[in-house]
Every structure is written in C-alpha cells, then in structure tokens.
Symmetry: D2
Subunit: 281 residues, 4 copies
C-alpha cells in the first residue's frame, strides 16, 4: 500500500473526522505543524470534527487544552467524546435519581449535564441503594482502586442496574515509555467478575460515528463516503470508520509505527482506504 | 418486575420495532393472534418495523412468507434485515469487482443489489483471486461445510480483504426441540482460526437500530424514547434497544421463558423497560 | 441426581482431597462439625489433603489458622496450595536473580523458599531491570493498586520475562454479602492489556491435582479412581477433579446453593460423581 | 537470543520430548536428516518421546507412518498422543455404556480400547439416548459437517453428559499453502453454542506433559529439568513445557519462521530456553 500525502487525500472529502491521540497530539502535547492542517481545512471549506474516547473532561475543557497550546480551530462543538454518548444514554434511559460513578469530579460533569444527581462510589452507602439508578465508569483517576473497585462490584451484586462504560479504551500512554490502565480496562475486569453485560460507548462502536455523522448532517446533506476518518489505530478508528461506511486514513504518527503498518494490516485484516505519514499539511 | 399488557404499553409510543423470531413467529409459523397487533397499530397510527438478523432472504421474500400466512401488514419496506446493512457496507466500501460468499444463491441477492458480481465460495479459484474484493458470510445453507469453510479460511490467508458477517446470530431454532448453527456461529470459528477482525452486522449492534431509526425519521421527527423495541432475547433485542436509547419490552413468547425471565434479568444486568406475556393484542 | 450422605460416599475411597473455602470453612470461620470429618477419616484409615488456590500464606501459616480454630488434623504437609506450584516453577526455571511480585511480604515466602531474591513491585526501578528475572502475582493485598498495577504493566513492556500467577481465582468472599477481587482477577486484566501469555497455577488446572496426587503416591500405590475430590465449585474443583480422573463430590455448603445445583450442573455440563449437603460427618 | 546447535543443547539432557509436526515432519513428509537425530540420541543414551495433539490414529498407526518413511526409531510406545489421555479419562470416568463420537472409524480406536462401545454421531438416535454416556471429538474427518455437527449440538441439549475434546489444535497444515480446521476448532464452536464446559486434552495442557513424564519415570528417576521439550510452536509446545518445569527448544523448521521468532517471543512473553534452526543433527 503506497503512502499518500494527506493534503492530496483530504481534498477529496467534504468532512474529516480526526482521532485525537496519535493524530493531533501525543505525550509531548500538540504535534507540531497540526495547526496548518486546520488552516487548510477551513480555507478549503472542509468540515471537521474530533472523535475521542475520553470521558474524563467535558468538550469545553478539552477545547481549552487545545487553545492553551495555540490551536483555536478546535472549539467545543467540534469535539465528539464518548462521554457525550454516555450522557445521551442517561438522558433517554434514566429519567431521575442518582447515578454512582468511578472517576474524577470533573468527569462527573457528563452525568450532571444529563440532569441527574451524581455520587462518587466512595460516598455510596451499600445499605441504602434506593436512589441509585445506574453506575457509570468515567475515568481511571479520582478514586482509590483497592477500595472503590471492590465497592463497585458489591454495589452491582446488591442491586441490579444499568452499567455504562464511557470509554472503551483499555490503556493510554502517559509518556514516551509508559502506559496506564484506562477506565475501560478496569470496567472489563469488573464485568468479568460480576458476570453482567455492561453498555460501552466509544470507538470502534458504530454509535460514536453515528453521533458525529448526525452533527455533520445538521449543516446539510452529506453522504457517508464523502467523509474521511483519520486515525492511528486499526482496531478502533479504522475498523469503526470502515464499518460505518466512511473512507479511512491510517496515520503513522501514533500507535502504528511505519515499520509495522503493513504487517498489522495483513494480520488483522483491517484495511484503511489510505495510509499517510501524518495528518500534518 | 410486573408483567404489563402489551396494548397498554404500546399506546405510549409513536413507533414500534419488532424482533421477528419469538415475537411474531416461532417454529410452527406465525404466532396466532399477532395479526390483531398490526390491526391495532394501524388503527392507532403507530408506525412499526421488523428488525431481523436474517440475511438468507431479501425483504421481499421475507414479506412473502408473512403474506402466505395471512399477514399483509408486513410489507417489504417495513422489514430491516442485517443483510441490508451488509449491502450498504458493500455499496460504500467496495466500488467494483467480485464478492465471494457463503450462503444460498437467494442470499447473494444482497450483494447483487449492491451492484457487485457474486461468486459462491465453491466456484472461487484460489490461484486467481485478483477480482475478489471481499468475502461475505450470508447463510448457513447452500454449501458443503467440510470443503467450503476450509476454502474460506485459505482464501483469507491468500488475500487480505474485508470480511462481512451479515448475521450476528450463532444459532437458530429449526423446530420445537432442535437448533442449528447460524452463519454467525460459523463466522466466529473462521475468525478465531484466521486471526483477523471481521465486520458484523445485526442486533445488538447499534448500526442495526440506527438504520431502522433513519427509516422512521423519513416520515417526520421522532425522538428515540418515543420508540419501543419489542424482543424475546435480552442479549440482542433488549440490550441493543436500551443502548440506542429506545424503551424496550421483553416478551415471554420465545427465547426467554416465563420461569427464568427474572433470573436472567438479574444475572445479566440487562433490564427491559417492560415485560409482557407476548406482543399479541 | 440424589443427594448422598458424605460418610457413605467417602468410605469407598482410599484418599480424599478437600477444597478449603466453602467446604471446610466459610466467611464465619471453620464450618461447625468439620472436625468430626477428620476424626472419621483418621479412624477409617483414609488419607486426606487440602487443595487451595491460595498463595497469600505458606502451608505453615494456613495450618496455624486451622489449629487456632481447633482443627489439629490439618498439618502443613497436608496442605497443597497453588503457591507451592509457583515455587516449584521458580525452582526449575529461574535459577538465580530477583523476582518482582505483587502481594504481601508474607506471600513472598513462596519465592524466597525457592532460593530467590524478592522485590516488591513498589521497590522495582524501571530504569534498572537487569537483575529482575520474573514477575509473580501472589496476593491482592500489600500494595497500592493505582500505582503498582500500572507499574507491573510498564515492567512487562520494558523487559520480556516469565509471568506467574499463583492463584487462578478472580474473586473471593470477604463476608456474607461482599466479595473482593482476587489476584487472579487483577492478573487477567494485566494480561489483556500487555497482550502476553501468563503462566497460571491453581484449580482447575491439572498440575494442581497432579502435585497432590504425587504426594499421596509417596505413601504407596493408589489409582486415580481411588481418590475423591470434594469441592463447592463446579468450574474449579469438580471439572478439574473429573478431568484428572478422580471421582468428585459437589457439596452444597458454599458457592453452589441447594436450589441451583441441578440447574448449574445442567447448564454447565460439569457433572459431579456425587452431591452431598456438606462434608460434615 | 542466540541460535544454538541442537546437538550441543540436547546432550545436556537425559530425555527429549519432540513435537511431531514442524519438528520431525512437515507437509512433504519426514524432514530430511531427522533420522540422524534419533541415531545420535540412541548412541548417547538419551531417552526420547513424541508428544502429539493427534487423536486421528492410534500410536501403532502413527508409528507405521514413520516406519514407512524410513524411521524405525519411533516405535508405538514412544508416542504420546492426546487421544491416549482421552482414553485414560474414559477408563476412569465412564465405566460402561456407549460413547458417541465425531471422527473416522480409525479414530474411534481410542474409545474402543477403553473397553467402551462406540457410536458414530451419524448413527445416534436423538430419541433414544439412554445408553449414550459421553461425547468425544476425535477427528475432523469421517462425517458430514453440516448434518453431524448440528446433531452433536442437539445431542448435548437433549442429554447432559461429559464432552471430551481429544485434540486442542484449532487448525493444521494440509500442504505448503493450505490449512484445514482441526477437530479442536469445531469443538470450540460447538462449546460456544451449547454454553457448556468441555474437557480438552493436548498440549499446552499440563496433563499431556505429565503423562509423558510418567512414562520416562518408569525407567528410573529423572528430574523435570533433565528433560528437554522440542517444538515449533510457542503457544503449545514451549509454554506447556516451560510451565511443567522442562527446559525448552524452539525450532525454526515449522510454525515459527526465522524472521519472526524474536518478535513472536517478545510479543507473547513465551520464552524458550533455547532456539535452534531445527532438530536435525
């Protein structure tokens, strides 16, 4: 598969969806030069969105971190996070009451903005669960794993309720050489132990792509194959984009290093429409 | 959880989505009395669709089998099958060439109607794969398992291509006492052996519900919680409907027998909005 | 399946292997009356051993807890723990150097008694891994999950080494209403994230039963079907005992409650030779 | 990891266990030169056994195929097959009656030599199952997959019984470019569909290595680390041998090609004691 120049690829499309980590930023911060990409998209009238499996912060907070690093083109309404899907679920399915959560107070924003009361798992009283209507896994920080993960397990054994995982990732990079377990990894362990079926939001699940697609549609008619999904991970961005009907670009600036791209594509059977060095223009 | 009368539940909604097997029909044919349900829906101006993990026959052929048993209310355009999602995928992602398939000639309809050439796996020449662009699992009938499943495995080892599974079910009932492996079950085995990632369409995947939701939306605005999903299986109909934001009814006329409903709900953590004896009105 | 009296069953065998939790003890301590069983076995010349998925304490320490509750018949040499298999592995495969571990200092006994240096994961320096030869999961206590589990993941990414899980259990009861994640559950999560293959010791793995069988053989010839395995859990004690060739008793004093025994046997396909109320004589 | 000469490695051990396929033979037949290895072992007084996940033929028939290709050193008593473990299980656990099987008549030898009646699944009458005591998966040949695999599923739904899988492999090579599903792969699919727990025999399971170890022990005392396991597959031969306490050699004449050995070891965490080009001396 030949490596293409990103600018030549992107101009064939009306809209682009970007994965964040490994495409726009990495452990050092914003990938230098990426601001040029957004300048180019705006000049060429190509719409764009960021699709991120991140429920630790609100779109407003995420946009602020881009702005702080000099990227003003990524405004809150351009960010689609898996936390927004969790919020939509809560709005439709949990009409009232309290939702218990694992995560920081910041991450609980997604529950509060659904109009529901929130309760950090630490503060849940296992002997008084009447008001608790659902449990949400939001972030791997903000709680004591030893105590609070075990408490979630016992909560779910004491009362049957919907369990929502607002991020499907099992790990994330913290610096050049180290990774950390993501909340999706902790949720997988809890699900195995309690034997129940959790509801997960995030790439590669179709609902994430649909949510973004619906945003683009509000601006006028657009067909699925007029949209390009750009990501660094075959198992989330590329397979998810492909399945939904988008064309896809695998960039080699993150998870998939140049040496192994061909091997990974061959062994996984996940085939991007294009491969590009990066999303920089 | 109290059992409700279906007529009292359904009148709260603008549209109803029905699973087919275990809700509208069973191994004996149409469930007696189900024609009254559609009469009631039409009289009350409630829209309805059938959502089925079935890629063995086209919507036209499926509608014919209902008509042959006296149900005229289920017209082809009211049927959403997982095969239609496979077709949409092929239309967006495979622009030309030949698609190999496992299934009957009838099931190949979904590929042909996407404007592509079809080739039964039996006729594939492993030494001449240039024109083959994708492989689709359609139906468990129409081929010799010993030979043709092994041939699929070697096809996928010889050439990297998209693999689509047009039915996520692993088994289906053939009569009161016996089941048969469904094409989804065969696909799971092949996927394990070749170690690649296949693309699956069918409940409980969100894309199936979205496809149906888009159909309803063409008739006017409707919110997700104005739609009711009716099914007999917690792990497909109910969890899928819940996750998408629909309200859900578990009926006890199929897979989930009355004695075990409460236990299954408690052990799986999949909680329907309502439970009804059946969908008969 | 008819429920038999344990005393009538056990007298058909030359030796009995007992699971500990749910058979000899529960969250309250020793199951009242169980001392009579050992008196009976000794009087009738029936040999006995305890097989436990427990690497948190040495056989000596485990025997002390029985003695403290009035059971003198369970001496250290009658206890076979999964930690002993981990120790045997280390003796054969890791000839020198340091072994990192997750667990309490007490649990590290199994590594030390293999003649190796131990290093709690907390004290491992990720920039100086030359001496670290293996990693062992011993106990869920004795470390800070947030920090130390992530550290294990990065240790295994930095240096390729054998990873041993000295307890296959994923959870254990802490009182009547609550359970806690066991070290086997944490190890499953880490294995999923690092994508490597760990080596596990504990029931239902054959090596556990073989280790016990070899102990009995040292006292004279005995055939596998002259040994009875007694346990409360189908998925570990019973399937493991069956597979090894032992006859098996499912007791209803622990994990498998009387109401659900028949259903669990039918749905799992794991069939004990006998069912008894308890192991009390 | 440096590649060592096999003759220099093997002389450190009292006994050697060989995997068959990829070590002694491949799709073309016996690997040329392998007869020299056995001459060398005999001259140096090193004991040897063949450990094979093959239940399609008896040790006598397997030995005949070696003899027909000029290898007289591999006599039936030197062959340990997973079928022998299945036979041992049947002898201990199924005292009388009929055992249903999937496989050729030849493979049914393992059941017959356990003193039991055999019945090909094709001949089983689902309405008269009184005499059927167990079901054994032996070989992928000798039956019609479409009909007979579905029949096994319905057999297991109609009557609860032990299910034995006499070969854990999911696929095997049939020629240079093609593989075929092995009976272990078919059994995995059936197990997923019926939701029961099957009993599997074959590498990497400890029971296979123990069975072989017991054979060697009959000739005199030998410690586990005086035995060398030679195989071409990390996930069966090497991890299984390591876990049991043997030293291990990965040979590059089969499944693991020279270019990928280092990568596969690093990514799997399965580390052989040595790597050799082949087992040829």
């Amino acid at each position: 598969m030949k490596i293409k120049e990103f600018s030549k690829v992107v101009t064939k499309y009306k809209a682009v969806f970007f994965d964040a980590y490994g495409v726009l930023k990495n452990y050092k911060g914003i990938i230098p030069g990426i601001e040029g990409t957004f300048k180019f998209l705006i000049e060429n009238g190509i719409d764009y969105y960021i699709l991120t499996n991140d429920a630790s912060r609100s779109p407003e907070q995420l946009a602020d971190t881009y702005l702080a690093q000099g990227i003003s083109a990524i405004t809150p309404e351009r960010i689609i996070s898996s936390g927004m899907l969790a919020r939509e679920y809560l709005q439709y399915k949990i009409k009232s009451g309290t939702v218990a959560y694992l995560g920081t107070e910041k991450s609980a924003h997604y529950i509060e903005s659904a109009g529901l009361k929130t309760l950090s798992i630490e503060k849940v009283d296992l002997n008084d669960l009447d008001s608790i209507q659902a449990m949400v896994f939001l972030d791997d920080e903000g709680f004591i794993w030893n105590d609070d993960i075990n408490k979630v397990i016992n909560l779910l054994r004491h009362k049957n309720m919907s369990v929502i995982v607002a991020n499907t990732d099992i790990a994330y990079p913290v610096n050049k050489h180290e990774i950390s377990i993501a909340i999706g990894g902790l949720a997988d362990m809890v699900e195995e132990i309690v034997g129940k079926t959790f509801i997960r939001f995030g790439k590669p699940d179709a609902q994430m792509f649909m949510f973004a697609y619906e945003q683009v549609l509000t601006k006028g008619p657009i067909k699925k194959d007029e949209i390009l999904m750009v990501g660094d991970t075959l198992a989330t961005d590329i397979i998810g984009g492909n399945k939904f009907g988008f064309d896809t670009v695998l960039v080699l600036s993150g998870n998939t290093i140049p040496d192994q791209a061909a091997l990974k594509i061959a062994s996984s059977g996940i085939i991007p429409t294009y491969i590009c060095e990066s999303a920089i223009i």
